[in-house]
């Protein structure tokens, strides 16, 4: 029983050490993302933006008012640019 508990304790400590080492390595940049990962990230973000914008316009055409923009009177009123709304 005692031996099993000791083994469990060692396993837990080893798991913690591995995890900390992985976080440390990742943050210190030893596993810096390659070019394809950065390009993939940008492409995914661009896709997400296109999909969300298209979905918003699709919803607006079906009568939903959207952050002050309306399909029926889309030109009326001016939306401000800024970081957050």
């Amino acid at each position: 029983m005692t031996n099993a508990m000791v083994q469990m304790y060692f396993r837990k400590e080893r798991f913690k050490d591995n995890l900390i080492q992985k976080v440390y390595d990742r943050i210190e940049g030893y596993n810096a993302p390659p070019l394809w990962a950065i390009v993939a990230l940008i492409v995914l973000a661009a896709l997400a933006i296109v999909v969300v914008t298209a979905a918003s316009i699709w919803c607006m055409r079906r009568g939903y008012r959207f952050f002050g923009v309306d399909w029926k009177r889309g030109n009326a009123g001016q939306v401000g640019v800024g970081c957050l709304r």
């Binding site: 943050i27 070019l35 940008i42 933006i49 914008t53 889309g74 030109n75 640019v81 970081c83 709304r85």
Partner: protein, 176 residues
Amino acid sequence: MIDHTIDIQQLSFIKVVQYVCHYLKWANYLFFVLFLLTVFVGLFINSKIWLFFPVYLVGVVLSLSIHEYMHLLVIKKISNNRYVRIQVNWFTFEIVPLKPIKGLLSIVVACSGPLLCTLISITLLLLRSYIMPTSISLLLLAVCYGFHIISFFPISGDGAMIVKGITDLMKGGEIK
């Protein structure tokens, strides 16, 4: 809270930085919590903790200032607006052109700010990957600038303006 109309010619970059600092005074709780989390991670890995302060300043204040100043610059260049309305409260930093900007021009105005910040972020990421692969400050800086990509989504003012611009174009018959 700031809500006033101002001549666009009087708005220099320093003035925009002042507005951003005022905005951060209100919205600082969120940024401060993020900053504390970052510092906690920094302590955990025992790195150079003092580097986070310039990173915080350059990453948050300068990126927001560049973002807003680009909007102002493009509004000044491509539209006939002489006055803009600036609204700053605890959540919103908004620049409203008094004369409405429509169609493609509104898309250009809305994209200018976040696009520049995103490009800076990509440049920093590439710089980190190929020149300084162990720099944690550069990574944090890239993340700070990269957060501006959220502005392209319609939940923010820029995204709403892009949606409005596309709506104008579609209704005007230029896009079917």
